[in-house]
């Protein structure tokens, strides 16, 4: 159940939404697409789900072309669009039953797959979907996408606007679903969720910046350091940006991530920093994360 994109491009009113995107997701992979609003994530997923026709390029899902083979593709995929797309005036049960019926199956047939997700919303099964909290709606939408045992799950920003706890639980569910051999494509604007994927594609303004596995960020070509201090990282931001050899410095929570232009400059910078009288200052090299890489590619 693989997904292969080749040079996919799409424009709206002369504005380019996607520009020559190519990548492939393997069977059983948890593949993440990260990028801010307007990056083109939704457009990309709609093309893969055969709901939009690309202007250029091809996309094949399990061998079928999204343009010509949409009928077959729509039988195999489970799609969760942004805003959850549930029937607000139907109950939890009724929503699930509807989608099961539409795919020619019953709730019971694939219940084992959905059980774990569904058990979290089961106490509310007679409640109208419109009256559920964000986290519950998210789980219901996931159940509806799973109920017919699709071979490919396409989830468009399922965690946006949902609280941190629900987000964490959702990703744990995804991990277990992946173990059933279902390929999962997920998009999210939250960089910290990227580490939970097998591989991640970074998209910005319609351009594919990079594809990488979270652990193997060998592509970060510059020395990266972290600066921490009880005085607050912000206090040192301008100072360090003005240093010769500092390529960039950005706030990262309670620390600064400082990218140095080249290995030659490292010694010089370290010496400078050590001269700043601050006993609480912690300055050390760190491995690059997805967000560092994203920022680097954006510049």
């Amino acid at each position: 159940m693989s997904v292969i994109l080749s040079d996919i491009s799409k424009s709206y009113d002369r504005v380019s939404a996607l520009d020559r995107i190519s990548f492939s997701a393997e069977s059983g992979e948890l593949f993440g697409v990260i990028g801010p609003d307007g990056a083109g994530k939704s457009t990309l997923f709609r093309i893969i789900a055969s709901l939009l026709v690309p202007d250029k390029g091809t996309c094949r899902v399990s061998g079928y072309d999204v343009v010509t083979g949409y009928r077959e593709i729509r039988r195999m995929i489970g799609y969760m669009p942004g805003r959850f797309s549930l029937y607000m005036d139907l109950t939890v049960e009724e929503n699930l039953a509807f989608y099961a019926r539409v795919f020619g199956t019953t709730i019971r047939a694939n219940f084992d797959l959905v059980r774990e997700v569904y058990s979290q919303i089961e106490p509310f099964r007679k409640r109208l979907a419109g009256k559920l909290s964000g986290g519950m709606k998210q789980k219901l939408a996931l159940s509806c996408a799973l109920i017919h045992r699709p071979r490919l799950l396409i989830l468009d920003e399922p965690t946006t606007g949902v609280d941190a706890v629900s987000r964490r639980e959702f990703w744990e569910l995804l991990g277990r679903i992946r173990q059933e051999g279902i390929t999962i494509l997920v998009s999210t604007p939250y960089m910290d969720e990227a580490v939970l994927c097998d591989r991640v594609a970074m998209i910005h303004r319609g351009n594919l910046l990079d594809i990488t596995a979270p652990e193997e960020l060998k592509e970060y070509n510059y020395p990266l350091y972290s600066l921490r201090s009880k005085r607050g990282a912000y206090a040192y931001l301008d100072k360090i940006r003005n240093l010769e050899g500092c390529r960039s410095a950005w706030l990262f929570g309670d620390e600064l991530h400082v990218t140095i232009s080249s290995t030659d400059e490292v010694e010089g910078i370290c010496r400078e920093v050590s001269r700043w009288a601050d006993a609480s200052l912690v300055w050390k090299p760190i491995p690059a994360g997805i967000e560092d890489r994203f920022i680097e590619l954006m510049q």
Partner: protein, 250 residues
């Protein structure tokens, strides 16, 4: 001798009820001048309700609330003149230009025309938007929009500015630039009251309050919270707190 920090916001036993549903249950807290106060909590915890009360957009059911030295029940108009507001959902008019938006909001706060013209020029240069001052908002990228919206919110140099999830959906660089702007604003004496879903942004705050089910469950500096819960980042603090909540309600 150290003067006690000046209270820009003082809230005592704030209660807001909608029928039988209690959205805010006896909230008590203060916000000091010049700090970045993070107001966190899950959706439905009552953050937005409290925020709206502080901005003068709705009436509390009971409680003593003072914002920028004014009483929230009797002096709402005075409060509105001294505060700024910006939210993720709406900040600027899409079918007006950059310049028109600046002048509209500045005009609403009663700034003089010459003053507006000078400050507008300054602002556009600072944000690198001088070339697009006559472009419609709907055609400029989200990141620029949000930064512009923030600048407009503090254009009239308010005592305190309220930011409701201001960085939702923007790219990582813009997000950081935004927070650099926030830091700069506090340097100039503006107090910042911000809600956010990004836990790393919680680290930028001087103090953080976490709400759950209408109550404030924690209110301390990020460092103190991390120590208390024995974790290394605010995300973990939040999760641990939420898990504790769940267990207590079983």
């Amino acid at each position: 001798m150290n003067r006690p920090p000046e209270h820009i916001i003082e809230v005592r036993d704030l209660v807001k009820r909608f029928g039988s549903f209690v959205a805010n249950d006896h909230l008590t807290f203060s916000v000091f001048r010049g700090e970045i106060f993070g107001f966190l909590g899950a959706n439905g915890a009552g953050k937005t309700t409290a925020l709206r009360i502080l901005c003068g957009l709705s009436y509390p059911t009971s409680g003593e609330i003072m914002v920028a030295g004014h009483n929230v029940y009797r002096e709402r108009e005075s409060i509105k003149r001294k505060i700024g507001y910006m939210s993720q959902k709406f900040s600027l008019y899409e079918d007006l230009t950059v310049s028109e938006n600046i002048r509209l909001y500045a005009g609403i706060y009663g700034l003089g025309r010459k003053y507006i013209r000078e400050r507008e020029k300054q602002l556009l240069e600072q944000l690198n938007l001088s070339e697009i001052r006559d472009r419609l908002i709907r055609s400029i990228p989200l990141g620029w929009k949000q930064k512009l919206a923030f600048s407009i919110a503090i254009f009239h140099r308010p005592v305190i500015v309220f930011l409701d999830e201001p960085t939702g959906g923007v790219d990582p660089i813009t997000r950081r630039q935004f927070w650099e702007m926030i830091h700069q604003a506090t340097k100039e004496g503006i107090t910042v009251f911000v809600t956010t879903h990004y836990m790393d942004e919680a680290e930028y705050c001087s103090r953080v309050s976490i709400m759950a089910a209408g109550r404030i469950e924690a209110l301390e500096t990020p460092a103190a919270l991390k120590e208390k819960f024995e974790v290394s980042n605010m995300n973990e603090v939040f999760l641990k707190l939420a898990r504790r909540e769940k267990e207590q309600h079983r």
